[in-house]
Symmetry: C2
Subunit: 375 residues, 2 copies
């Protein structure tokens, strides 16, 4: 059942797109919103101040990684994850399921949970719905995700149906295990793969549980843009309008815009941060590889329409130089730009919704398409 | 001869120690001052704003490295080094001699200059006093260093005498080659190894040339703290009081304090930045290796007496975690601390001199001794 530490207020709509306000223990998040990924208690190469300056209101971190290093109990003893990484806004954590299942051959699944061998210290570990919640509550995050089974793609209908049913059983166990509903909200995850009837049934089943919020999971695993958006849209359609909707692990700018237009509110993805560290830059005029020789002499900013510190102060030539010499400042500056691009896109989507301006939403969809296209 | 683009005003003395104001094309520098090293047009892992926030007024960059990558002509076309790296304060560049001579077996020295093979692109290059000045003037820096011969240590008196004489001949060629005395000052370099008479004679010889400023070179190459300070002190003694004195490539906190007490004004060293990237931290309570297991659970800041962002916001435990996972933010935060420690030390030395407080200088010497001692 929903808890007072999480509320979602719907402020405006434009078609299926929603502008809202998500209120959590550590603050409010205007939606649609993108959460930068700080897997191991740090958004890579950025100080918390720099993260905030990109426009982020909430960050995502990872249960599995923090469990292994430096250990959730240590973070708990040190005052919790907010204090540890000095982020005073809301934090949502992945349950760690996705990471554990990624280990594949080192993993053994049972109804009880997932046994795996730590890749860090070789210890045998056992992740259960109860353990996932305990870790996240010890971290003291604003939103805990329930452990779900993350299956291979493609998967048969029967396989998906079985897995979805298990995810629901695990959700009930997670709900029973929570101890800090006063401060840590818990989101369920709608599964169902690319099977419409399974998606619909699962969304309806979870809706009846009146959870704090709803994630849409099991997507962006290889199904392609069209199926991704179709499934996100379908899932959103059967979720309650007074609860926040979070599409996990998505995506490219065009995915985000399409999902927002389908009624999704919240996103996370490593793409803007990881791409930055691989010299890939999202801009309003297309995707740049800053390593490309043509940037070496360019006095232009990355993006003529961007107000981020990187675009205001540094030329493509300088950034190309930093990347060439493998200087950490290059990672910092490109990450600042990419995250700012994502946040600015979210802010403009929100404004278009508030203004009830479908033309604006379409224009942003066009720009987002451009932003991901190599130049 | 001295040019109007560089002046040094002596504000106060305390014994041999001097507080002054160095005025260059891009601004003024209260001395004693420490220049963070930004070898390749970036102080590693820090934005220019972060560099400034450590208290730095002037940064050092490197002629040799920028010549190779991205090329001084490219930087010139892009508006000069200040614009390129977006540092609006003064910049001093090393002549590149030290780096070229470090290549050893790839180097051929003649009276004309130094032939070497680029380690970046395999091209044959020829660094002469004229080329070094041309590169630095093209970069548009505030202070160019003349090319000097950097010899092995230890070296015989005869070897040092010959080399010092060549450095003087090269200085005359550099002076004749300069074209932008209106904006780029030029410092000569006092050599003489650890031979007192050679040091004295060279300092006096250079003094007669009425240069913009005087560097003390050829030290911190293996001679140890006592000889380093003795030679710096001796060199300073024979340099004119109305010109700035710069001890190149030095050093540990205790070296800086001792040199300031001997009349030196300006320093550069990779130590605070490079040490940070190797998890070594200078603090008022001793030198820490943040990798040490005892920091893993510590909620303490690095230094209880430090006002830097790192010490104000992050625990040793968090920094240890970042270093452990090899996260670039760890480099950033430790570099910010180390540079702030150096800058704060310089600021306190200056204040003690202005206050004519020799006890304060002694206390700072004691602290600096502690700061470099492993705990």
């Amino acid at each position: 059942m929903a808890t007072p530490c999480c509320s979602y207020e719907l402020n405006a709509t434009c078609g299926d797109a929603r502008a809202g306000t998500l209120t959590l223990t550590h603050g409010t998040v205007p939606t649609p919103a993108f959460m930068p990924v700080g897997t191991r208690a740090a958004v890579r190469s950025l100080t918390p101040t720099q993260v905030k300056e990109t426009g982020a209101h909430i960050v995502l971190s990872n249960t599995y990684h923090l469990w292994e290093r430096p250990g959730h109990e240590r973070i708990g003893r040190l005052g919790g994850l907010h204090r540890f990484m000095d982020w005073d806004g809301p934090i949502l954590t992945d349950s760690g399921g996705f990471q554990v299942f990624s280990l594949r051959k080192h993993v053994k699944l049972s109804e009880e949970g997932v046994r795996f061998t730590s890749q860090i210290d070789g210890t045998k570990r056992f992740l259960t719905p109860e353990v996932a919640i305990e870790i996240q509550e010890t971290l003291g995050v604003d939103v805990a995700m329930v452990l779900d089974e993350c299956i291979e793609w493609p998967a048969t209908r029967e396989r998906v149906a079985d897995s979805t049913a298990r995810t629901t059983r695990w959700l009930h166990r997670a709900l029973a295990a929570r101890k800090h509903a006063d401060r840590t909200a818990m989101f369920g995850i709608v599964q169902g793969g690319v099977y419409e009837d399974l998606r619909k049934a699962h969304a309806e089943e979870l809706t009846e549980l009146d959870l704090d919020g709803y994630a849409i999971g099991g997507l962006s695993v290889g199904e392609g843009h069209a199926d991704l958006i179709a499934m996100a849209s379908l899932s959103a359609q059967f979720l309650p309008s007074h609860k926040v909707r979070y599409l996990m692990g998505v995506g490219y700018p065009k995915d985000l815009v399409a999902a927002v237009r389908s009624g999704v509110d919240l996103f996370d993805c490593v793409l803007p941060t990881r791409s930055a560290r691989h010299a890939q830059v999202f801009t309003s005029v297309g995707r740049l590889n800053i390593k490309n020789a043509r940037h070496k002499d360019s006095d232009e900013p990355l993006d003529p329409n961007c107000a981020c510190m990187t675009c205001q102060r540094f030329s493509r030539a300088y950034l190309a130089h930093l990347v060439k010499i493998r200087e950490g400042l290059g990672d910092t500056l490109l990450t600042i730009h990419n995250l700012t691009y994502y946040q600015h896109l979210m802010a403009r989507l929100r404004q278009a919704i508030v203004d009830d301006a479908p033309d604006q939403l379409r224009a942003l969809a066009d720009e987002a398409e451009t932003a991901g296209r190599p130049t």
